[in-house]
């Protein structure tokens, strides 16, 4: 429906009511307006057209789940990025160790000096949580980026080869996909543990492990999406225009295939954070136990879980809320980008 039309008519009818103009003249003006509108019958809102991305963004803005997710993530990112500069104490500072006695089950709880209390080594938990957030964000983003990059490389190549490359392309796709299938066939945690075992345990290793685990998902997703696009009529249209195959693959098929990948990336951020925490929890993360990281903190808290369960609670809640934020945003994006849900 034309958006411009009702507004124009409204103006005309208000003028009709207020002014004492001759009705016939108004009628004529109305007809002229209608004729002009008939010529320009596309939606005539604003100067530039609206791209699909901008429309999707508009829809996301109206989704309460997306707003909640975005707010959670905004707080999380803010804390992770600038928090470490404002923490009251160093996260590695054990100067309050004398207040703690593990043998006698004494670990001081929250107080005015230490908002979240101390841990079993006499360190400030609040500072550790804030600095840990930074590490968690870093792990999540780098791991997802690794998965996204290699997954898209494999999947994009495969999809383009399968869709446009003819027989040779199908063969290439076959080889690449069998490799991806091998990755996919291995249980994610086992794969990650093996990678960590081969390299030495560190935060970087965790990032690589979690990233590699995500590669087959992205590869499969993008490949499927690209192949679907390669059957789309606009690809035939571009071919018939004489556009070269690489340009069709990367100028048309890829951008149109990205929506599900972006949604998946957002969701992967959530699982990456959980998986990274899991690996750290298993002691496969950073070898330095004083390094604040939510997974490591969770592991540490186990020793004192019986009398200070809050030490496990803080990092656990942190992980859950962050993962929830990414998931909410991811789902909202999925909804907004789904072409079937567009009116």
């Amino acid at each position: 429906m034309s958006e411009g039309l009702p507004r124009e008519n409204q103006q005309a009818s208000t003028a009709e009511r207020s002014g004492g103009m001759a009705l016939t003249q108004l009628g004529k003006r109305k007809i002229e307006k209608l004729e002009r509108l008939a010529e320009l019958s596309a939606i005539n809102a604003g100067e530039r057209g609206e791209s699909l991305w901008r429309e999707a963004f508009k829809r996301v803005r109206h989704n309460p789940a997306a707003i909640v997710g975005a707010v959670i993530l905004a707080i999380f990112v803010l804390v992770a990025v600038i928090g470490p500069f404002f923490v009251p104490y160093s996260p590695k500072d054990t100067r309050w160790i004398d207040q703690v006695s593990v043998a006698r089950n004494i670990i001081p709880g929250p107080s005015a000096d230490h908002w979240l209390g101390l841990d079993h080594n006499g360190r400030d938990v609040f500072s550790r949580m804030v600095v840990g957030a930074q590490k968690t964000l870093l792990v999540g983003i780098v791991a997802t980026a690794i998965g996204l990059f290699f997954g898209c490389l494999l999947g994009g190549l495969s999809g383009a080869a399968y869709g446009l490359g003819g027989k040779a392309g199908r063969r290439l796709d076959n080889v690449l996909m069998r490799f991806v299938d091998m990755l996919l066939a291995m249980p994610a945690l086992l794969l990650a543990v093996s990678i960590v075992a081969i390299l030495r345990p560190s935060l970087v290793t965790v990032m690589i492990a979690v990233g590699v685990v995500a590669v087959p998902t992205f590869a499969r997703l993008l490949r499927g999406s690209m192949i679907a696009q390669s059957n789309a009529e606009y690809v035939v249209a571009s071919t018939s225009l004489g556009v070269s195959r690489p340009r069709i693959a990367f100028g048309h098929m890829l951008p149109n295939s990205l929506a599900p990948v972006i949604v998946q990336a957002t969701l992967t951020l959530a699982t990456a954070i959980i998986e990274a925490a899991g690996l750290s929890f298993l002691g496969l993360g950073t070898p330095d136990p004083s390094e604040p990281e939510w997974g490591t903190m969770l592991n540490d808290a186990l020793q004192t879980f019986e009398y200070a369960p809050r030490l496990a609670l803080f990092p656990a809640v942190g992980i859950i809320i962050t993962a929830l934020g990414f998931t909410l945003l991811g789902e909202a994006l999925r909804e907004a980008l789904d072409p079937k849900l567009r009116k």
Partner: protein, 343 residues
Amino acid sequence: MTAMAPVEPTAETTSALVEVKDLKVHFPITKGILFDRVIGHVKAVDGVSFSIRQGQTYGLVGESGCGKSTLGRALLHLTPPTAGSVHFAGVDLTSLTREQLRAQRKRMQMIFQDPMSSLDPRQNVESILSEGLKAHGIGADRDERRELISKTLDEVGLPRWALSRYPHEFSGGQRQRIGIARALVLSPDLIVADEPVSALDVSIQAQVINLLDELQTSLNLTYLVIAHDLAVVRHISDVVGVMYLGALVEEAQSDDLYRKPLHPYTKALMSAVPVPDPVVEETRQRILLTGDLPSPANPPSGCRFRTRCPWAQERCAQERPELRLIDGHKVACHFAEDLADVH
């Protein structure tokens, strides 16, 4: 090839822009998990020959599954033909390398049925229309290209402000105009239009048909119009070819074909098309065909139409009829002369 009427100076004369000879497109039917085994072929197009003169409109009609769309795409080498040849302006397209073919595409363009799916939803109109120009190095810079594009927009009756808009912001008829503009901007000689109006509302169909007509006159275009709607095809075509199950069964001048269809299938098709006139509808005799289209993977022996033909004889099952020239029509029926006066 003996008892024939004198050859009329029609399609066979020298100035044929397109010459299709014994074109075949067979799609393999494969089975198997690891290694694909070919267990049969779908003979979508099975030996079709025809030619289109410069400035002429050749209409191809047939029901769904008759192979008319595949023929159109094979003619442009968008689907690789299995056998046969296509000469375009004297050049054998089958002999060209991929790059030569790509360069040749500038001169032969396509218009699609569904303007929405044949336009990349992420491109605005300017980008859609400049794609072909860029691919063929037409226009030195953006301004020069914009000049060409604006001229083409005028020709198809779209306003200039359409440039920055996206396909989803237009109505169906306008989208089809964008599709036509995309083909026109390269100033091609041949345009293959595959069901150019069947996705449009009745009142819009006429606009597009008239536009195609006008453009042909002003730009001296040659059309191959593929459609299932006999009335539309008859209206815009000079010569009409009727396809059934992968082969031409009749070809004649548009008016001749209507006045005196010779092939039983053409007769049935004609009689089945509803006419918006109760007087005609009440008096006309229908030839109701029984049964459905046989599978193109396993076509009947001899004449392909014999399973549904009310006048089928024994000979029809044994001998596949060739196209013969009768009364200026080319007909593939053993008994065309005997059936000439049957309605």
